[in-house]
């Protein structure tokens, strides 16, 4: 039974790389530093061995040719999901360039909230090691902010050793804390200003007002208990040596996320005139952070990219307009959206495979093949290991084969 250390977990964008994995006959289990996502992800069975065309088993060569023909015939293909590693994304971009396709990551709508704020006003941010080592005050904004990042509290808030932050961080929640957060903050006695939807935006606005001129503006009737809590949070902020606001677009109500994130960044701008305070957004799992980085350096556009005009543009992509779909889902068992267009699936999982025009099994990045992924902060990238000999190819390799069957000018 082989045991491997320093394994990077690709199943959320924290990319914890302190896992130990054991392999027995290609079945993996996490023997150190597991969380629920790692346990589930690494225990996935080996990818299917057979490709299929309209549900009928086919050789990989046949399936690749069918996928190429389908893409080439299509006038407006969409490469969707993009749940893959850096090389898979690089290959997808090359294929899109050659077939005038559009590309849309599965979590586009969430990352777009951060991008809008960035492109409108910029931002002040910190990476995970800064949060772990420096933050003496941490304010979570949203409901269950760390819910899909199971080890965030353990690794970065309750870290046994830090360079500067010590053991007595002060926490506050503007929104409803999740179970991991409440369980994880023993001894920290957080201030909780719970609220849903527009209440979070309103509370943030009240906090900003309080911090800028020392008093609550008259926003109608603010209950005394809430006012006291807001005062407490304002005191935490004022006394912070290095404060951090943590949010997660997926933990904010869709219709409020732009306002909340913009408002958080405005608050950070104000605060940094005199003291140090930074933001950290959790997001970008499922290859999302990697997609944003690679798409930006290769095309200049950080979100959905459309090659339909013969060159890359970033105006947005409407799935309803497309006439074929290449769906890449390397990390989760997610079927493609029901677009009712000819569909190719590249995935280790068979979700949607029997209905697809073409299904080609690929490996899980970081299990079946090596690779690279970017972390939630968009700064750190980590190597992924190959942990078993399943023979399942990387999405990049399959796309490379598809490309070799596509003739034509571009790329």
């Amino acid at each position: 039974m082989a045991s491997v250390d320093n394994v990077t977990c690709p199943f959320c964008s924290l990319l914890c790389d302190d896992l130990t994995l054991r392999a027995q006959k290609n079945q993996l289990s996490v023997s150190a530093n597991a969380c629920r996502l790692a346990r589930q992800g690494f225990s996935a069975p080996q990818p299917a061995s057979k490709a299929s065309i309209k549900g009928v088993p086919a050789t990989t060569g046949q399936a690749v040719r069918a996928a190429a023909a389908l893409m080439q015939k299509s006038r407006k293909p969409l490469i969707g999901g993009l749940g893959t590693d850096v090389n898979g994304i690089r290959a997808a971009l090359q294929l899109a360039e050659k077939t005038d396709a559009a590309l849309l990551h599965s979590q586009e709508s969430q990352s777009l909230h951060n991008l809008k704020a960035l492109q409108a006003r910029g931002g002040i941010t910190a990476t995970l090691a800064e949060v772990k080592n420096r933050a003496d005050v941490i304010i979570f904004i949203g409901n269950n902010v760390c819910g899909n990042y199971p080890r965030f509290i353990e690794r970065f808030i309750n870290a046994p050793h830090t360079l500067f932050a010590g053991q007595h961080r002060k926490l506050a929640y503007m929104g409803r804390p999740g179970r991991t957060e409440l369980n994880g903050c023993d001894g920290h006695e957080p201030v909780v200003i719970s609220g849903q939807g527009d209440e979070i935006a309103e509370n943030l606005a009240l906090l900003r007002a309080l911090l800028s001129d020392g008093q609550l503006l008259d926003f109608g009737n603010i209950p005394a208990a809430k006012a006291r809590k807001l005062e407490k949070v304002a005191d935490l902020v004022r006394d912070a040596k290095y404060g951090v606001l943590v949010w997660n677009p997926a933990a904010l109500p869709e219709d409020q996320a732009d306002m909340v994130i913009g408002s958080a960044q405005d608050l950070l701008r104000d605060l940094n005139a005199k003291q140090r305070f930074a933001g950290l957004s959790l997001g970008g799992s499922n290859g999302g952070a990697s997609w944003q980085c690679v798409a930006t350096w290769q095309t200049g556009f950080p979100a959905a990219v459309d090659f339909n005009g013969g060159y890359p543009s970033g105006g947005g992509v409407h799935p309803a307009d497309v006439d074929s779909l290449l769906w890449i889902s390397g990390f989760t068992e997610a079927a493609p959206p029901a677009l009712e267009v000819p569909t190719v699936i590249l995935s280790p999982y068979r979700a949607g495979a029997s209905d697809a025009d073409v299904y080609i099994p690929t490996g899980v990045p970081g299990i079946d093949h090596a690779g690279t992924l970017f972390r939630t902060d968009g700064v750190i990238s980590l190597p992924l290991k190959k942990l078993r000999e399943s023979g399942a190819p990387a999405a990049a390799a399959v796309i490379g084969q598809v490309l070799s069957h596509i003739t034509g000018a571009a790329g």
């Binding site: 910029g122 002040i124 941010t125 080592n133 200049g300 690279t372 790329g411």
Partner: protein, 550 residues
């Protein structure tokens, strides 16, 4: 073998100044016709000007900063799309272009090697990934040290200098770097403790260390481990009026040790006059002339929209009030360094911007020894690199320079000595500041010259009275002996390499590093390191390992 027949060759490393001669290329290198094989092809280059391929010693082309700049500049990308063709990939942008476009544009100006000057250790993997996606160019990077908590802890505890040497050498190897840069020594770190300024002899409040002490430790370390390129220094007080004193003190603090001061234009400001902003180019150039241990690059400013991207968060945050458009990014990064991105428009009718333009040119023209001044715009901070042909014309053509001087802010033009400087760079001197000198400084023994055995990276220009047109559109560019640009257009995509050095260290340093990583960092030491195999796997890249002094 290819024969390049009858061109006028400018090869300063070999003392060749416009001599008409033949060159021979075999197996990607310049060959001796006496011993080489048969001539397969003759290219008649009578009347043409031949130089080694251009080398940019300081250009922000790969890594987090420039990519964040790209994310911010949506407007520039939307209005400057680049379509693919049979050969070239697509992209966009004119200020911080996407990676493929960056490579093509550099090659189309005759450049063949570029060096990313500020690669953060924790961001090294991204830098190399981006540079692997930057075609046409061999690339390399200087790894950023001096505000990282590991080093500052070592220095604070006043440990054995050998540990510092080992740490520096280890970091160079682990991140696959070509040299070391320090940015506002200790200042990026001090900003995380809310310090807003730090001069050469002020202490970082937490560590009690001065920039002088940090500089000194790194200068000693680079000397000890034998890295050819001297410490690449972005000094304290970038952009602050009166900062030339800090610059002069920084030069003195090297005490004769080899040192490179980068984007010196931004560090040569006086405080004279009604506006309390003046040129101190003469003082700084004099110091360069008097200190043979010192080299500089200029960081020339050109007028128009650009974006500034720097690890110097302390000064970038201070400069955010000038952001145009008004959006800017400030990041604290991983107990390692930081990143500040501030878009900026340099205006020719603005006194300060116009004087910045003058100051850069004054430095070029007042430094006597071209072997110690390298041509840069600190892309994209002073201007995008695509301004190089224009900049060469400004240096070579006095009447053109004076015409331009007549169009800028009148008070700035009047406050500058530029109009009284007669000097015009020769082709030989241009070949020095854009090829031979950077290669020598970096220790690239077989690049930047055209002697027998050199790698055949060669640029061929068709003479033109308009030097901007000539340098903007080479007739041929050869990369590793193969033509890759014809008449200013890419005609082939050559294989490219990454330049690295591999200084030796005592592996015992990994014990303290592992302890530090396990306790404080958020990635393991093993995954931090970039192996040769990993780097070569990014894009079928090969490594060019350059010798360290023993």
């Amino acid at each position: 073998m290819i024969k390049l027949k009858g061109g006028k060759v400018y090869d300063p490393s070999n003392g060749i100044d416009g001599r008409v001669m033949d060159l021979y290329i075999e197996d990607g290198r310049l060959a001796d016709p006496a011993t080489a094989g048969r001539i397969d092809r003759v290219l008649d280059l009578a009347g043409r000007i031949i130089m080694p391929g251009g080398i940019d010693i300081h250009t922000h082309i790969g890594g987090g900063k420039v990519n964040i700049a790209r994310m911010l500049l949506a407007e520039d990308h939307a209005s400057n799309p680049v379509a693919p063709d049979m050969l070239m990939r697509s992209g966009s942008g004119s200020i911080a272009p996407s990676s493929f476009v960056t490579g093509y544009r550099y090659a189309e100006m005759g450049y063949t090697s570029c060096f990313e000057p500020a690669m953060m250790p924790v961001n090294a993997r991204q830098s190399h990934l981006e540079m692997a996606d930057t075609p046409m160019l061999d690339t390399g990077a200087y790894v950023l040290l001096g505000s990282d908590d590991f080093l500052l802890r070592l220095l604070q505890r006043n440990k054995d200098p050998q540990l510092v040497n080992d740490y520096v050498a280890w970091t160079i190897q682990a991140t696959r770097a070509m040299g070391v840069k320090v940015v506002n020594p200790g200042g990026i770190n001090a900003f995380k403790f809310n310090q807003r300024k730090l001069d050469l002899d002020e202490s970082n409040r937490h560590y009690g260390l001065t920039p002088r002490a940090i500089l000194s430790a790194l200068l000693d370390a680079l000397d000890a481990i034998g890295v050819p390129h001297p410490l690449h220094v972005h000094a304290c007080n970038l952009g602050v009026p009166g900062n030339y004193r800090t610059t002069l003190n920084t030069i003195a603090s090297a005490e004769g040790r080899p040192v490179h001061l980068t984007h010196v234009q931004f560090h040569s400001y006086g405080q004279e006059g009604d506006r309390k902003f003046s040129s101190a180019a003469a003082q700084v150039a004099e110091a360069v002339n008097l200190n043979p241990n010192l080299s500089i690059d200029v960081g020339q400013v050109m007028f128009g929209q650009t974006v500034t991207a720097s690890a110097d968060t302390m000064m970038q945050h201070r400069g955010h009030v000038h952001a145009h458009p008004n959006k800017w990014v400030c990041m604290d990064i991983e107990c390692d360094a930081g990143c500040g991105v501030v878009p900026f428009r340099y205006r020719d009718k603005n006194f300060v911007n116009a004087l910045q333009w003058c100051i850069g040119l004054e430095i070029f023209l007042l430094v006597n020894d071209p072997w110690r001044v390298f041509m840069t715009t600190d892309h994209p901070n002073g201007a995008p690199f695509t301004f190089y042909p224009h900049l060469i014309r400004l240096l070579m053509d006095r009447s053109f320079r004076n015409d331009m001087l007549g169009t800028i802010n009148r008070d700035a033009a009047g406050a500058s000595v530029l109009s009284s400087i007669d000097r015009e760079y020769s082709l030989y001197e241009i070949a020095i500041i854009t090829r031979a000198a950077p290669a020598r400084s970096l220790g690239l023994r077989d690049l930047g010259h055209l002697g027998i055995g050199a790698i055949a990276d060669i640029t061929v220009y068709r003479p033109d009275d308009n030097l901007e047109a000539m340098f903007g559109k080479p007739e041929y560019v050869f990369k590793h002996g193969e033509p890759c640009v014809r008449d200013g257009k890419v005609c082939a995509i050559p294989a490219t390499s990454t330049h690295v050095v591999e200084p030796e260290y005592d592996p015992g340093i990994e014990k303290s590093l592992k302890h530090y990583f396990d306790r404080y960092m958020t990635m393991s030491l093993e995954n931090f390191k970039i192996s040769r195999d990993e780097l070569e796997g990014y894009n079928q890249h090969s490594l060019l390992v350059h010798d360290c002094r023993l």
